[in-house]
Amino acid sequence: MEGKLLRIRNLHASVEGKEILKGVNLEINAGEVHAIMGPNGAGKSTLSSVLTGREKFVVTEGEIEFNGKNLLDLPPEDRAREGIFMSFQYPVEIPGISTVNFLKTAVNEIRKYHGLPPYPAGDFLKMIRQKMELTGIDNKLLNRSLNEGFSGGEKKKNEIFQMAVLEPKLAILDETDSGLDIDALRTVAGGVNKLKRPDNATIVITHYQRLLDYIVPDVVHVLYDGRIVKTAGKELVAELEKKGYDWIKEEVKREL
């Protein structure tokens, strides 16, 4: 059997002493798109923070295996170098550094980790141009300081552009749809779909159905109160949109 790309077992995590994740189990194969939905405060963003290694999130129990490696042993930069990418809900600004220069540093750090020499400058720019066309991002944005003065939509497009350049094995889109108008949403989703390959996987974290109209998931999970309480196919998205999250909460209560 093909190894799972990501395997999360009984994951418990807390922030400032408060337990947020209370036993998450999740398995993702290469080639799949998983949606993680759930009401506010369910632990969706905590899950992405734990996967990417944000310091203030403390794993108290459980394990995460990524591509055969124990993810929890790795510092955040090594997780990124191993192929985990997160599209941030609130991308930061770095004044004075253009997106292209930022990515050049990132790409070469990742290459160094894998024992490769720096990307030759000419080839790098060629690759950047290809990814620019693929994701439909404006050339002008890439030469401006990273995210400085970008609109919400431009920031998210820039995240997807970075994802295209870094070619991760696992992309986590953390509330990427928040604050996007419909055109930006389409561009972002179009980029994600074009980047889908049999050897990578995507986790789409979202509260709403909107984005999932454009990025069609293979599997949908509902995260509630720190646990995955329901897993089904894409039809679950429509059901959640129609009925909201209350019936899930009811189901969970009944089971308890």
Binding site: T52, A80, I94, I97
Partner: protein
């Protein structure tokens, strides 16, 4: 912010802290007229120069150390300092004759003194302790009429020029440290660019303190005659020692009509250890005068070293239409203190100045910008723009901005902008998530922040300067 990351990123060693084992000739500790006469005699100086020194010394005795800066300066025992220390070497200064130890020292500092190995297009005057060890490309420059030599040599070979300009921009009465320097200065560089000559190379002086208990008091004099151009760079390092050492220099720059001087500094004196022990006291007076019409003076500085820095490179804009720009990045880490900035004195009509100051503070350090813009009564249509930014790493350091405006003419337009920001955990994590380590993330953020200033450094040094910034902040992510 997380303390572990802070520890990790700020724990770097000062790379230039070694001591060269070379026989040194010194004058006994202490400061009095005898010592000054001895220095002057060692240098075989003319009578007028000895007189200048003695007058300065007598003035100094009547002065008090300035205490207005945002600095805590411990008492300095001026009788406990050696005022002259020279590595022993033969009189003939052919390259082959330079002591191999000294040669090796400058090689190690990345300043090869043999012309074959030198950075292309850069002539170097290498100063160790109180004397110039070697000046490269002197002959090549002489062909164009450019004089580039040690100060002592200039006194011997071009006494009229030295006498004409010495003290003309920074008189010995100017301030406490200027008076001290004028009394005991030992060596430094002299540059004269004749009328209409564009200096074909970058000129640079590398200052190295080596001997123990010694102060370095060098003096640099740059004269750009009408229509001349020169780009000059100074660099400085010192060994790591537990006791503090004093460096009190004077730089004077004279720029005639339509001439331009670009003066760049990479200051990396030993900053002291992580607990604030040792390091150089860097008390420096630098000033240029745009004497003629449309003269230009550009200051660009990257300041990472010294335990305490007290320094305000300034420009007197006397000629009508003259222009001065000041670009500075000053980094303080651990227990370093810096009070630095500039003065722009507008006298001529239609004079313009621009100030871009970027402070970066980390650890327990204190970093102050102090700048004065003065427009005198008779000066019409002066323009000034000042931008002072502070970047903080961690929450135990301090950043201060002290702008002074003295505008006596209503036609002046003066703008001042200031910002303070902090390197955030979010920024670092974002970089981490793209495969960039915390240390490199700080480097990248600093590079972006200081880019406007780094771009003004001569190309050969811009990369070095940027690396230096990153190294100075290693272990300080906050």
């Amino acid at each position: 912010m997380n303390d572990n990351i802070i520890e990790e990123v700020t724990g770097s060693e000062y790379k230039y802290g070694f001591v060269t084992n070379v026989e040194t000739e010194t004058i006994a500790k202490g400061l009095n007229e005898e010592v000054i006469r001895a220095i002057s005699a060692k240098k075989e100086e003319p009578e007028w120069l000895l007189e200048f020194r003695l007058q300065a010394y007598r003035k100094w005795l009547t002065m008090k150390m300035p205490r207005w800066a945002q600095l805590t300066i411990p008492e300095i025992d001026y009788q406990d300092i050696v005022y002259y220390a020279a590595p022993k070497q033969k009189e003939n200064k052919d390259w082959e004759e330079v002591d191999p130890e000294l040669k090796a020292t400058f090689d190690k500092l990345g300043i090869p003194l043999s012309e074959q190995m030198a950075l292309s297009g850069v002539a170097v005057d290498a100063v160790m302790d109180s004397v110039s060890v070697k000046t490269t490309f002197k002959d090549t420059l002489a062909e164009r009429g450019v004089i580039f030599c040690s100060f002592s040599e200039a006194v011997k070979n071009h006494p009229d020029l030295v006498r004409k300009y010495l003290g003309s921009v920074v008189p010995y009465t100017d301030n406490y440290f200027a008076a001290l320097n004028s009394a005991v200065f030992s060596d430094g560089s002299f540059v004269y660019i004749p009328k209409g000559v564009r200096c074909p190379m970058e000129l640079s002086t590398y200052f190295r303190i080596n001997a123990q208990n010694t102060g370095q008091f060098e003096r640099t004099l740059i004269v750009a005659d009408e229509e001349a151009y020169v780009s000059y760079l100074e660099g400085c390092t010192a060994p790591m020692r537990d006791e503090n050492q004093l460096h009190a220099a004077i730089v004077e720059i004279v720029i005639e009509k339509n001439a331009e001087v670009k003066y760049s500094t990479v200051q990396n004196w030993y900053p002291g250890d992580k607990d604030g022990k040792g390091g150089i006291y860097n008390f420096v007076t630098k000033r240029g005068i745009c004497r003629g019409e449309n003269a230009r003076l550009i200051w660009a500085q990257v300041e990472t070293g010294s335990a305490i820095t007290w320094k305000y490179p300034s420009t007197i804009l006397k000629g009508d239409g003259s222009v001065s720009e000041f670009y500075s990045v000053a980094v303080t880490n651990n227990y370093q203190q810096a009070d630095t900035g500039t003065k722009m004195i507008h006298i001529g009509n239609n004079t313009r100045s621009r100030i871009v100051s970027k402070g970066i503070s980390a650890g327990y350090s204190s970093n102050s910008y102090r700048g004065k813009v003065k427009v005198v009564k008779g000066c019409q249509n002066a323009r000034n723009y000042s931008q002072c930014d502070s970047l903080l790493l961690g929450d135990k350091c301090g950043a201060h901005t002290f702008p002074y405006l003295e505008i006596e003419n209503p036609t002046a337009q003066v703008e001042h902008e200031a910002t303070t920001s902090r390197i955030g955990e979010d920024q670092i994590f974002y970089c981490n998530q793209r495969g960039i380590s915390a240390e490199d993330a700080v480097g990248l953020i600093i590079k972006g922040y200081a880019g406007d200033v780094l771009n003004k450094m001569p190309m050969e040094f811009a990369v070095e300067a940027q690396k230096l910034l990153q190294i100075s902040l290693e272990g300080s992510v906050g």
